[in-house]
């Protein structure tokens, strides 16, 4: 079996995170609790396991954002994020 690229970029989160956010979250920026690096969500390294999404910091590989679609609803975990900056319209 050939090894496929392990992760995709953060644009993969656009669909799933539209469950939760009314804005385009891929244009938001996060800062990582592990190393402090600020990244645009679209630049995060996203590991997709079924309906589970793990977005990791490109600097230190710590998870900064995790999301899963479960049988009872979406579960969002932002404990790896120091802050999330969202562009506002207008």
């Amino acid at each position: 079996m050939t090894t496929q690229h392990e992760y995709v970029d953060g644009n993969r989160l656009a669909g799933p995170l539209a469950d939760v956010f009314a804005v385009d979250i891929t244009a938001a920026s996060t800062s990582c609790i592990g190393c402090g690096r600020r990244s645009v969500v679209a630049q995060l390294h996203v590991y997709v396991v079924g309906e589970g999404y793990v977005a990791r910091c490109p600097g230190c590989q710590d998870p900064v954002l995790r999301y899963a679609r479960t049988s009872t609803g979406g579960v969002l975990d932002l404990r790896g994020t120091l802050s999330l900056q969202v562009p506002l319209p207008g």
């Binding site: 396991v49 079924g50 793990v54 998870p63 899963a68 479960t70 009872t72």
Partner: protein, 199 residues
């Protein structure tokens, strides 16, 4: 669609009886990872069981290899709905690793290189139900499948069979792991379709 009699393959019973509800059988071995594959050198690899009292029992790679090996052939079931029948592994039973460990714990939190964790009751690691495996289908376990060594607990969904395992923490209180804190089931029995909390 099958063009040969099912008995041709000499199975104990029909494979469909061995596929839990909501699962499909595959011949593939999909690679699913929640993070990058860690690069682990065997001379620095170690496996540590830590009791609730803080006592550590550690095995180096050579010490693990010196323990009696078993070669279980088991069916595995991934929560993403694939199942794979008759997978063959080589490893050391958790019964052997836990034999001399003094504990009153009811729960285990499994830790991996790379930071992954998963929780399960300690009883589910005992009595021939779980192994630390380093061989797969006659060869060494590939890194993308958890090598050099992973946990194998085939009676639970495969996310409990932590890749790149480095230790087990024994606990008096249950503590949820990586997926369990994101809404996945604390136990994960594929025959009861315990995919998510509340299932």
């Amino acid at each position: 669609m099958s063009i040969v009699n099912p008995g041709f393959f000499g199975r104990r019973r029909g494979p469909s009886d061995r596929i839990p509800p909501g699962q499909y059988a595959t011949e593939e071995f999909p690679v699913l990872s929640a993070g990058p594959t860690p690069n682990i050198h065997l001379d620095r690899w170690a496996f540590t069981i830590t009791t609730e009292a803080g006592v550590e029992h550690t095995w180096s790679w050579d010490e693990l290899q010196a323990l009696p090996h078993e070669t279980p052939t088991v069916d595995i079931h991934c929560v993403t709905t694939w199942s794979k029948l008759d997978t063959s592994w080589e490893g050391v039973s958790l019964d052997v690793l836990l034999e001399d460990v003094e504990t009153a714990a009811d729960y285990a939190l499994v830790h991996s290189y790379g930071g992954y964790t998963t929780n399960l009751p300690l009883d589910d690691l005992l009595e021939g139900q779980a192994w630390v495996v380093f061989g797969y289908e006659g060869g060494p376990l590939a890194p993308e499948h958890g090598g050099p060594a992973r946990l194998l607990v085939p009676h639970l969904y495969f996310w409990k069979s932590a890749k790149w395992v480095r230790g087990i923490q024994l606990l008096l209180q249950d503590e949820p792991g990586f997926w369990e804190t994101l809404g996945y089931h604390e136990y994960g029995d594929p025959w009861r379709e315990q995919r998510y909390a509340g299932d």
